[in-house]
Symmetry: C2
Subunit: 129 residues, 2 copies
DNA sequence: ACAGAAATACGAAAACATTCGTAGCAAATA
DNA sequence: TATTTGCTACGAATGTTTTCGTATTTCTGT
């Protein structure tokens, strides 16, 4: 049986993944500069964190040139599912409806968003008419 | 101007809140017993955590009788909004649709759930026709 | 070639979060 | 009353995450 690995990036690991999901591969400096506006930590902090992530298997690292290049090994989707699942079992205790409505409530939705969601709901309708 | 407090219960604090949201006020023992099935920690651990939470302003505590009674000071909704907001700005980068669909995907939805969500969507339609 | 800038490696401090042991009371009970 | 039971208080060990300082190496420009 296959061991299901559970990806649980920590808070700051997640911030780094955000950057890398947007544009990978990237150097430590690129990642660090992309985050500098929001957070206030030194370069070596980012470096160390990314090294740790590589150790954990969260990032791949290309060390061929002196300036290493990092690429995420986990997809945004994997993490989303993982964290969502946790929330469903915890905060939202299985009530997807409540989570969904909370999400709807907390953000201004574009017409596109609504369209997508509605289309998605229809697929559910088809399955259980 | 009012300082917007951000509620960020930790993992185990959240478990305790789950219990208290269900039925408050409650004693440490009640909370502990409600959680015993899932977790495997001692009574004093629960006690200590709840004391810390009271210190942080997450719980109110009635010490009139020897056996203290605890009540949550943050609502489930507040926490949900807080965490959801964080996810929107982070993991889901403003795409509520993706978050919602992820949630829908990860759970089997009852017909009721679907009804609720659809009704909710209609309210949004009314607002932005 | 040399000084300075820029990169990695690494250990360890600092900050949290979690857990439990033990002490000290108060209440119930034998 | 003496014992046991159940509660709070509190300090301290453990574990994890975050942060940074310092050493070392490589590259760059003069």
């Amino acid at each position: 049986m296959k061991k299901k690995k559970t990806f649980r990036p920590t808070e700051s690991e997640l911030e780094i993944l955000q950057v890398l999901w947007n544009k990978a591969p990237a150097t430590v400096r690129q990642v660090h500069e992309a985050m500098e506006h929001n957070r206030d930590t030194g370069y070596t902090t980012t470096l160390k964190t990314m090294q740790i992530m590589a150790g954990k298997g969260l990032l791949a690292r290309d060390t061929r040139s002196r300036t290493h290049l990092y690429t995420p090994l986990v997809s945004r989707e994997e993490c989303q599912q993982d964290i969502l699942g946790k929330m469903m079992n915890g905060l939202f205790k299985g009530s997807a409806a409540r989570l969904v409505m909370g999400a709807l409530d907390s953000e201004k939705l574009s017409g596109e968003d609504l369209q997508e969601i509605r289309a998605f709901l229809e697929k559910f309708d088809d399955k259980k008419p």
